[in-house]
């Protein structure tokens, strides 16, 4: 069944009681929270996302976060944490990569993977604060079988082809289907193509 495109920039737009939240929404929410304390003002999308997250709390709407989206949010935190730690580990980096002119967070990750243990506390803090904002991560027990009856790898390819999406975005739609959810919120223009079968909540 064909879905629709819902423009959340229109005043008074309503949300369904449950919708799948794409990683772009969580990342823009993170950016909205730190830019509200920065000299760089939040973008219109970030303002819209922050407004949507507040609306979810007022209207008791739950945003369901797929495992793929959670991975991308955690990647943001991991990358930022390693980026911040770079200046403190120059000796480790020079020992491991003596010929690299400027070391990146990936170099430090390879040289000092043990630092991930320290990032775990940050990840815990972020995921707990997501829960308090009505952002709930989907669990295996929430998911039914793939409605088409295909195997996961087959379904992933079919979903990528049908919606012209990359594998992560396609995986988000598959997880939404398995949870019986037909509404997706995203600020990523790519996911607008999901309106072939989903109601897509976005900012036009």
């Amino acid at each position: 069944m064909a879905g629709s495109l819902v423009d959340l920039s229109v005043a008074g737009s309503s949300l369904p009681s449950q919708l799948v939240i794409d990683s772009s929404i969580v990342v823009e929410w993170l950016a909205a929270t730190f830019r509200s304390r920065s000299v760089t003002p939040p973008t219109p999308t970030q303002i819209g996302v922050a407004r949507m997250v507040r609306q979810m709390q007022v209207e008791r709407v739950v945003g369901l976060v797929t495992s793929t989206s959670l991975n991308e949010v955690f990647h943001y935190v991991l990358k930022t944490s390693y980026r911040l730690a770079l200046p403190n580990h120059r000796d480790d980096l020079l020992a491991r990569y003596p010929n690299v002119r400027r070391h990146s967070w990936e170099h430090l990750f390879k040289a000092r993977s043990d630092l991930v243990a320290q990032v775990a506390a940050d990840l815990d803090r972020v995921r707990r604060l997501m829960v308090t904002a009505n952002l709930l991560v989907l669990e295996l027990g929430d998911l039914g079988p793939i409605p088409s009856g295909r195997t996961l790898d087959d379904e992933l390819v079919r979903t990528m082809a049908r919606f012209a999406l990359d594998s992560n975005d396609a995986a988000i739609l598959i997880e939404a289907r398995r949870a019986g959810i037909s509404a997706v919120a995203s600020s990523d223009p790519d996911l607008r193509r999901a309106q072939l079968e989903f109601d897509v909540y976005t900012w036009l």
Partner: protein
């Protein structure tokens, strides 16, 4: 006789978790206030604006994707992105 664990359908499982989550979130907010405010405070205190903004800008450069990371050719001159010598 050992009691069998309750078997829930995926929908029942999700509905139960949503109800628990809503209650837990509302309880937290009544005690601690706005989670958006709390998240911003934590992120800035822990990471600082500069590192947060650098990661965000990388995300924007890849048009809303973390599937790819920035690799600066100049940074890794004479080596590949892992710092290995080219063959």
């Amino acid at each position: 006789m050992v009691a069998q664990p309750e078997r829930l359908s995926p929908k029942e499982h999700l509905d139960r978790r949503i109800a628990e989550n809503l209650a837990e979130a509302e309880r937290w907010r009544s005690e601690h206030g706005d989670p958006t405010e709390a998240l911003g405070r934590f992120l800035v205190e822990r990471f600082g604006i500069e590192a947060l903004e650098a990661t965000y800008q990388e995300y924007v450069r890849h048009e809303d994707s973390f599937l790819f990371d920035d690799y600066d050719d100049e940074d890794a001159e004479g080596e590949d992105e892992d710092g290995r010598e080219p063959r």
